[in-house]
C-alpha cells in the first residue's frame, strides 16, 4: 500500500492546476458574459455594441443561387446584387408612375431611329419605317469600382493575383483573405464586356435568346464564342477563360472612353427598361479572368458568389446559409437623395433627406430565416428593422376597418410599428388551355362556357379567405400602376362585373347559369353524357396546405353544376403538361420585368404560345385581331392612341375569356419607427441606399422590449432543489430496506 500514496499525490498535483485553470476560465467567462449582458439584452442575436450604428438588420428566407448579373433573374438575388451593380439607368425612388432616371449615365440615352437605307428618322418615326435603332449612352467620368483583389496591381503595373501563385491560393478560403485590393475607373468598355457576357453560352444568361432577337450581331457572337470556347476547353481543360474582348459584336460599339452605342433591330421602345436591369450592369474583364483561375472555383470563389461593382455597397460576407453582409463601398461617388416625389411624399416625411448624399446606412446584415415564426418574433423584439406579414401573424398585426381599409392593431401601434401597402405589378390568373376541345377554341359554345366560369369564380372571396384581403380582384391583365390600366367604372370587366353604387360587383350566379345554358350545358349538364359537365384543373400543388384552396375551386364550379376534377401532380409533370398542351384549366402567375403593358399583354400574344414556341402564352391564346393590335401597341409611346389600342385588346380578352383574370397581390410590409424613408417600390431593388436607420432609438427599444425575466428560472432551480429532498429520503429508505 505504501507506494500508492505518492502516486495519489502526483495525480492530485496534476489535477489541481487544471482545476484552477478551469475555475479561472469559468470566472472569466462569467464576467465576460455579465459584462456583455449589461450592455445589451441577453437574447440579442448580434454582437455587443453593433446596433447603435447606422446598420440595417433584415432577413431573407430563400438562399440566392447566383449573384452573377448575367445569370441572376430572381427578386431574392436582385435584392443583394442591385446594391452592388449599377446599370446605366435606374427607377426614380419616389415618383409614380415609375420613371426611369440616369444612374451611372450622365443623361437618358440618346435614341436614334434609322431607316433601311441608314438615313436618320425623326423621334416619332413609325415602327414600320424603322430598320434599326441606336441607343447612345454616356457615363459619368470618375466612377470607381469597389476594392477588389482582381484589380490589385503591383508597383510595376502588373496584377497581384494574375497569375495566381499556388502559395497564395493555399492561404485563401474566401475573397476577403486576399491581402491586396485595388480599384479602377469605370469605362464604357465594361458595359460592352457585360453585353458580350450575356451572349456567352457558358454563362447561361436567361435573357440571351431575347437579346439575340434585338441586339444586332448578338446571335452571331453567341455562335462564334461558343465554338472558340469549345476549342479552348479541349486544350485548357474545364471552364477556361475566354477573353471576350477579342471578339466583336456588330451591334455594340465603344465611341470613346465614356460613351458607347447599342444597335437594336427595328424599333423596340421597351429596350430602355432593360438598361435599368442588372443584366446591363458593367463588368470589368479583369474580374472574370481573375475568377476563372484554377483553384478558385473549388473554393467557391467565383462571380456567382462575389460580385464586383461600382454601387453604394459591396458584399463582404456571403454565407447564404447563414448571413449576407453588405458594407458601404469606400469608393462610391455618393449620390443625392431625390429632390421630388409623389404628392404625399413630403407629408410622409420622405423628402426630409432631399439632396443629401447617400447612402445613409453603412452596413446591412441579412440573416437567413427559413421559418416564419422566429422571423416574426425577432421583428417584434426589434432585431429586424422590417418584415413582411405571414398568414399566421396577420391577425396579430393588421385589422380592417368598416370600409375595408387596413390598419395596424393597437399592439403594433404601441410599438411604433408602421405599415406600408402597395398593389404589386404581378398577376395571378387561372387560364384555359385554348387548344382544349371543351374549354378552348373560338366557338361560341366554348366562349360562353368560359364566360360563365369567369362569373362564377369569385376571386373577391378567394382574396378574403386565402390572402387575408391582401389583393385586388383583377378586371383585366394590367395591374394598377401600369399604363393602360383603368380604375373605376371604365375599368370593370362587363362580362363578370357591374358597376353598382361606386363599386364593382360580381354578377350573380344566375347570369353565369344563363350563359351556361346558352352554351348548351343547362344546369351544368353535358348533353353528350347526360351527367354533369366534367372539367379538369391541373395543378402542381399537391400538398395538404393546398387542399382547402383546391376545394374552393371545385366549389366555384359546383355552383354551376360543373364537376371540377383536381389533377394534382408534381411540378415537373405539370410543366410537361403545359408544354404539351394537355392541361385543361390551370393557374399561373407573372411578375413584371418592367412597367410597360407590353410585358403583360405579350402573355397572350399568339406567336408566344407555350405549345408551339415554348413561350410565355400558357393559355395558347391565338386571336388575329389581338395579335395585330399587340404588334402596333408594343412600339407606341404612352398616350391616348396607345390607351385606345390597349382598351380594345382588353375588350377582346374579356369577351374571349382565355383567363379568369384572378387578382393582383397586395404587398403588406411592416417596419419599425427607427427605419426611415421606406416607400414600397415594385420595380427597383436598389433601394437600400435611400434608407436611414436611427441606431440609438433602436437600442433603446431593444433594451426596453427584451429585459431578461429571471424569476421562472430561479423558480425551476428551487423546485429542482426541493425535489431532491424526497428523492434523497426515498433513496435512504430503499438502501436501508430489507430484501424480504
Amino acid at each position: 500500500m505504501a507506494p500508492k500514496v505518492p502516486q495519489r499525490q502526483t495525480v492530485f498535483k496534476v489535477v489541481r492546476p487544471a482545476l484552477r485553470c478551469w475555475k479561472a476560465a469559468l470566472a472569466a467567462s462569467l464576467s465576460m458574459a455579465i459584462a456583455g449582458c449589461s450592455q445589451q439584452a441577453w437574447n440579442n442575436p448580434y454582437r455587443a455594441g453593433e446596433a447603435a450604428g447606422p446598420i440595417f438588420y433584415g432577413s431573407f428566407a430563400e438562399r440566392p443561387k447566383h449573384l452573377d448579373p448575367a445569370r441572376s433573374y430572381s427578386s431574392n438575388e436582385w435584392s443583394f446584387i442591385s446594391q452592388v451593380y449599377e446599370p446605366p439607368l435606374q427607377y426614380h425612388y419616389l415618383r409614380r408612375p415609375y420613371t426611369l432616371v440616369p444612374q451611372t449615365a450622365t443623361s437618358m440615352p440618346e435614341v436614334r431611329y434609322y431607316a433601311a437605307d441608314s438615313s436618320l428618322l425623326g423621334a416619332d418615326a413609325a415602327a414600320d419605317a424603322v430598320a434599326y435603332t441606336d441607343y447612345v449612352l454616356s457615363i459619368r467620368p470618375g466612377i470607381r469600382y469597389q476594392p477588389h483583389p482582381a484589380l490589385a496591381r503591383k508597383a510595376d503595373g502588373g496584377f497581384h493575383y494574375w497569375p495566381l501563385q499556388e502559395e497564395t491560393l493555399d492561404k485563401v478560403s474566401a475573397l476577403g483573405d486576399f491581402e491586396h485590393n485595388g480599384s479602377r475607373e469605370l469605362v464604357a468598355d465594361d458595359y460592352l464586356y457585360q453585353i458580350k457576357r450575356l451572349a456567352f453560352a457558358p454563362n447561361h444568361s436567361p435573357v440571351a435568346s431575347l437579346m439575340a432577337e434585338h441586339i444586332q450581331g448578338f446571335a452571331d457572337f453567341m455562335q462564334r464564342t461558343k465554338v472558340a470556347h469549345e476549342a479552348l476547353e479541349k486544350v485548357d481543360g474545364r471552364k477556361p477563360w475566354l477573353d471576350l474582348r477579342a471578339f466583336d459584336m456588330h451591334g455594340i460599339e465603344r465611341i470613346d472612353r465614356y460613351r458607347y452605342r447599342i444597335r437594336i433591330n427595328r424599333k423596340y421602345p421597351q429596350f430602355i427598361y432593360w438598361l435599368a436591369m442588372n443584366f446591363f450592369a458593367p463588368m470589368p474583364w479583369e474580374a472574370e479572368r481573375f475568377y476563372r483561375q484554377a483553384g478558385l472555383n473549388e473554393k467557391n470563389i467565383n462571380l456567382h458568389w462575389y460580385p464586383i461593382g461600382t454601387g453604394p455597397y459591396m458584399l463582404t460576407e456571403n454565407n447564404p446559409n447563414l448571413r449576407m453582409v453588405l458594407v458601404r463601398n469606400p469608393n462610391f461617388r455618393g449620390e443625392a437623395y431625390p429632390l421630388d416625389g409623389a404628392e404625399t411624399d413630403r407629408s410622409a416625411g420622405l423628402l426630409e433627406d432631399a439632396g443629401k448624399t447617400m447612402p445613409f446606412i453603412q452596413r446591412a446584415v441579412y440573416s437567413l430565416e427559413k421559418e416564419a415564426i422566429p422571423r416574426w418574433n425577432k421583428f417584434l423584439q426589434g432585431y429586424y428593422d422590417n418584415s413582411g406579414i405571414g398568414s399566421d401573424s396577420f391577425d396579430q398585426a393588421v385589422q380592417f376597418g368598416g370600409g375595408g381599409e387596413a390598419s395596424l392593431t393597437p399592439t403594433m401601434v404601441e410599438r411604433g410599428i408602421r405599415l406600408t401597402t402597395a398593389v404589386e405589378t404581378t398577376i395571378f390568373y387561372t387560364g384555359f388551355n385554348m387548344r382544349d376541345q371543351v374549354v378552348g377554341g373560338d366557338s361560341e359554345r366554348a366562349r360562353l362556357l368560359r364566360q360563365a366560369i369567369a362569373i362564377a369564380t369569385d376571386y373577391e372571396e378567394y382574396i378574403s379567405i386565402f390572402r387575408n384581403g391582401r389583393g385586388q380582384a383583377a378586371q383585366g391583365p394590367l395591374p394598377p400602376g401600369i399604363f393602360g390600366h383603368r380604375d373605376g367604372e371604365a375599368g370593370i370587366n362587363p362580362v363578370t362585373h357591374v358597376w353598382h353604387k361606386g363599386v364593382a360587383r360580381r354578377r350573380g350566379v344566375d347570369a353565369a347559369r344563363a350563359l351556361l345554358a346558352k352554351a348548351g350545358y343547362p344546369d351544368g349538364r353535358d348533353p353528350a353524357t347526360g351527367g354533369p359537365l366534367i372539367l379538369n384543373y391541373d395543378t402542381p400543388r399537391a400538398g395538404p396546405d393546398s387542399k382547402a384552396m383546391l376545394q374552393w375551386y371545385r366549389k366555384q364550379l359546383a355552383k354551376l353544376g360543373i364537376e371540377l376534377v383536381i389533377r394534382a401532380t408534381d411540378y415537373n409533370r405539370f410543366q410537361d403538361k403545359m408544354l404539351k398542351g394537355t392541361a385543361q384549366i390551370f393557374s399561373w402567375g407573372w411578375n413584371a420585368d418592367y412597367p410597360d403593358p407590353e410585358n403583360f399583354l405579350f402573355l397572350l400574344y399568339g406567336p408566344n404560345g407555350k405549345v408551339e414556341s415554348k413561350g410565355e402564352n400558357a393559355a395558347n391564346f391565338n386571336n388575329a385581331e389581338f395579335d395585330a393590335l399587340f404588334l402596333d401597341m408594343k412600339d407606341m409611346d404612352n398616350g391616348p392612341e396607345r390607351q385606345k389600342v390597349i382598351d380594345r385588346m382588353i375588350e377582346i380578352l374579356r369577351v374571349e375569356s382565355p383567363w379568369l383574370f384572378g387578382f393582383f397581390p397586395k404587398a403588406f410590409s411592416l417596419h419599425h419607427d427607427w427605419y426611415r424613408n421606406a416607400k414600397p417600390h415594385l420595380m427597383a431593388k436598389n433601394t437600400l441606399k435611400y434608407l436611414r436607420v436611427d441606431g440609438n432609438a433602436r437600442v433603446v427599444a431593444q433594451q426596453a422590449w427584451n429585459r431578461a425575466v429571471l424569476w421562472p428560472l430561479m423558480l425551476v432551480l428551487l423546485l429542482l432543489m426541493i425535489s431532491v429532498i424526497p428523492a434523497v429520503r426515498g433513496f435512504r429508505t430503499r438502501e436501508r430496506s430489507h430484501a424480504l
Binding site: 437574447n43 435568346s209 431575347l210 467565383n302 415537373n572 415554348k614 431578461a708
Partner: protein, 325 residues
C-alpha cells in the same frame, strides 16, 4: 480483427454501388434532365436552346443508363450514370449543379451541425442514463410509474412542439437567449444553448424509457442477485454492475450515430437558423440538384457503414468475450 475489418470494407463496395444506382434510378424516375435544366435556369424566358446548353454544360446531355449509339464498353461508360458515379468512389464530389463545390460546402456546414449535435448527444446521454437509473432504482414505485407516464407523454409530443415552445418560452417570453441565429467561433455559444436544451428535452422521453428497459433487464439477472446476496448496497449494484453490463446495447445505439452526427437535423437547424448540413439534402431535392443528392446519399451510406463497423469494434472494447473473427 484486421481481417474482419477488411472483409467488412470489401462488403461495403457492392452496397455503395447499389445505393448509388438506386439513388440514380429514383431521382431520374421523378426528374428528367430537361426538368432539371428548367429548374436551374428559372421560370422565365427559358428556351429549348438554353435547356440544351445547360444540359451539355453539366453533362446531362447523354443517355441515362445505356448509350445505344456507342459500342462495346462505351455503351455503358458514355452515360450519365457512369460519368456521374465514378468520381464518387474516389470521394471527389465535384460541383453541384448550381455551381458550388460540394466538398467545400460540406466542410463548411458540418461544423455548426456538430456544434449542436455533439453536446445534445452527450448531455442527453448523461441525463437519460441518470433518469433511467433513478427509475430503475425506484422500480415498481409511484415514482417509477409516473416517471414512465411522463416519458410516454414526452415521446408522444412532436419535436416541432418542443422547438416552437422553447423559442416562445425561453427566447420570446423570458428573453434569455436569441430565438434563432448563429455566429462563428466563441460567439456561437449563446445560439447553441436553446437548440441543445430543446434537443435534450425532446429526447428525454424515448431515451429514458429505452435505457430504463435495458437496466431493468439487467437488474433481474443472476449476477445482480449474487451481488445483492453478498451484501452490496443497491446503488453500488446499479452503478458498478448493472450500468456496466447495460453499456453494450447503449453503445450499439450511440456509436452507430457518431459518424452521422455531422449530417445535422433538418427541423432544429431550420427553426434555429443553424447553417448546418441538416437541410442540405432536402434543399437539393427541392432544387433538383442531382450532384448534391447523390453525394449526400453516398456519404450517408458510407458513414452508416463506418458507424456499424465502429459498433462492432466497440463491442470488443465493452465486452472482452466478444471477438471479431
Amino acid at each position: 480483427m484486421s481481417a474482419y475489418i477488411i472483409r467488412r470494407l470489401l462488403h461495403a463496395i457492392p452496397i455503395l454501388i447499389g445505393v448509388n444506382a438506386l439513388t440514380f434510378v429514383l431521382f431520374f424516375v421523378v426528374n428528367s434532365p430537361d426538368d432539371m435544366a428548367r429548374m436551374h435556369l428559372g421560370g422565365k424566358r427559358v428556351t429549348d436552346q438554353a435547356i440544351e446548353a445547360w444540359k451539355e454544360d453539366h453533362g446531362y446531355d447523354k443517355p441515362l443508363l445505356i448509350n445505344r449509339e456507342s459500342s462495346g464498353v462505351a455503351a455503358l461508360t458514355d452515360t450519365i450514370l457512369f460519368e456521374k458515379s465514378i468520381r464518387l468512389f474516389l470521394f471527389d464530389f465535384g460541383q453541384s449543379d448550381g455551381g458550388r463545390d460540394i466538398s467545400e460546402d460540406i466542410s463548411q456546414r458540418m461544423w455548426p451541425s456538430l456544434a449542436i449535435a455533439v453536446p445534445t448527444l452527450l448531455v442527453g446521454l448523461a441525463i437519460n442514463i441518470t433518469f433511467a437509473l433513478t427509475l430503475a432504482f425506484f422500480r415498481a414505485s409511484y415514482l417509477d410509474f409516473w416517471g414512465v407516464v411522463v416519458c410516454v407523454a414526452m415521446m408522444s409530443i412532436s419535436s416541432l412542439f418542443y422547438i416552437i415552445g422553447g423559442q416562445y418560452l425561453v427566447g420570446k417570453l423570458l428573453h434569455l437567449v436569441p430565438i434563432s441565429g448563429y455566429d462563428t467561433g466563441l460567439h456561437a455559444w449563446k445560439f447553441m444553448i436553446l437548440p441543445v436544451i430543446v434537443g435534450v428535452i425532446g429526447g428525454i422521453g424515448a431515451g429514458t424509457r429505452w435505457y430504463r428497459t435495458l437496466f431493468l433487464e439487467e437488474i433481474h439477472r443472476d449476477y445482480v442477485r449474487s451481488a445483492r446476496a453478498k451484501g452490496l448496497s443497491e446503488h453500488w449494484v446499479l452503478f458498478r454492475h448493472v450500468l456496466r453490463n447495460a453499456l453494450i446495447p447503449i453503445l450499439t445505439g450511440v456509436v452507430v450515430l457518431l459518424p452521422t452526427l455531422f449530417m445535422g437535423s433538418l427541423l432544429v437547424e431550420s427553426f434555429f437558423g443553424i447553417p448546418g448540413l441538416g437541410s442540405y439534402t432536402i434543399d437539393a431535392i427541392s432544387n433538383q440538384d442531382f450532384a448534391i443528392v447523390r453525394a449526400m446519399v453516398f456519404l450517408g451510406a458510407v458513414l452508416y457503414i463506418v458507424g456499424l463497423l465502429l459498433t462492432d469494434i466497440s463491442y470488443t472494447v465493452a465486452d472482452p468475450r466478444v471477438r471479431l473473427d
